[in-house]
Symmetry: C2
Subunit: 192 residues, 2 copies
Amino acid sequence: MCRKRQIMSETKDKIVALADRLVRTKGFNAFSYKDISAPLEIKNAAIHYHFPAKADLGVEVVDQEMAKFHTQTSRWKNLPENEQLEKLTEVFRRHSKEGNICLMGSLAPDFETLEPAMQAKVQEMAGSIVNWLTQCLEQGRKKKLIHFKGTAHARALIIISNLQASLLLSRVMGPSAFRLIAEQLMDDLRHK
Amino acid sequence: MCRKRQIMSETKDKIVALADRLVRTKGFNAFSYKDISAPLEIKNAAIHYHFPAKADLGVEVVDQEMAKFHTQTSRWKNLPENEQLEKLTEVFRRHSKEGNICLMGSLAPDFETLEPAMQAKVQEMAGSIVNWLTQCLEQGRKKKLIHFKGTAHARALIIISNLQASLLLSRVMGPSAFRLIAEQLMDDLRHK
DNA sequence: AAATATACTTACTTAGTAGTAAGTAAACAA
DNA sequence: TTGTTTACTTACTACTAAGTAAGTATATTT
């Protein structure tokens, strides 16, 4: 009758991974603890053991996403800026293929309904991404690898909102939407 | 003890108007009948009288939005295409000021959780907007009022996803995000 | 070997949620 | 004036949500 227990809690990692997927597919408010406990074959109290409140789970999901972003971008650090942008697009392309939307695209609509701690995390994440992209565009333009009009900051906002929304549009209009947007976006930056 | 009853149901209109606002501010799954019944000082059964299921209310909200879109665009029909685009941006600017996000931006993340009837409505809406914008861009380029690279369809997808996501980003990063994106976007189309 | 910490489960509470069946007051039509 | 439709309210159901208190088996430390 004895169910096996995980050593050093793989369970916690599985909960976060599944929560990440649920946030992207159903939205933070729309998924429930049952959506996690049922497939992992644990009780919902087990989730509360690791994450006392749902917001704690949400914060962890965002934290892990940010950590992933930082390790990825620092891995690209020595690439030419136009290739770094391709890498970024590649990340979104993968999400597109898996039917995921990005965390920002999922959490921003529900922003007002989130707890202050989660709101702060989401703002932090948005800031990090926009700052990185702004730097990347600025450096790339200096080296004449990338061409665009206006400030790097405004262009960064445009690009990130495009990638974000293209995943949303793809969900409604099919995967061709992402492809068309991403290709045109990269092409825009290639030429003067 | 007798509460007054509305003649010819202003109530129904009020329900839809409030639901529209709630979808944009909290999301379709995150708002409840209480969010409508409390401020309107009616019982939740009154909402069910007009809209048997929540999906019926959602469909009505999307329908009214599409009707509004059609009347607006047909009012601009005889304007030069670049001005029509300014008008479209103006619509989004107003939403930005009121802290609203657009219906697509709100419903697309929850798309998988919506009933088939609502999914179809959202797809219809996306199609309408993209088609109109594609036509507008194509005509505008022919008359040399608008300049852009690539196909009108790809450019339409880029612009609509920008406007959509700029409202999402604004919610997280503050209203300057919308301003910067909208200005740069319009500037991009003005020059060769 | 005993005490303690870890990682859960069992069983429950509280507070919602959408939705419904039956009743009612007013407006309208015959 | 009677019957019917409209626009609700009252009072409820069935269900699901997040969250909690207390118990338990295993692993780790002393």
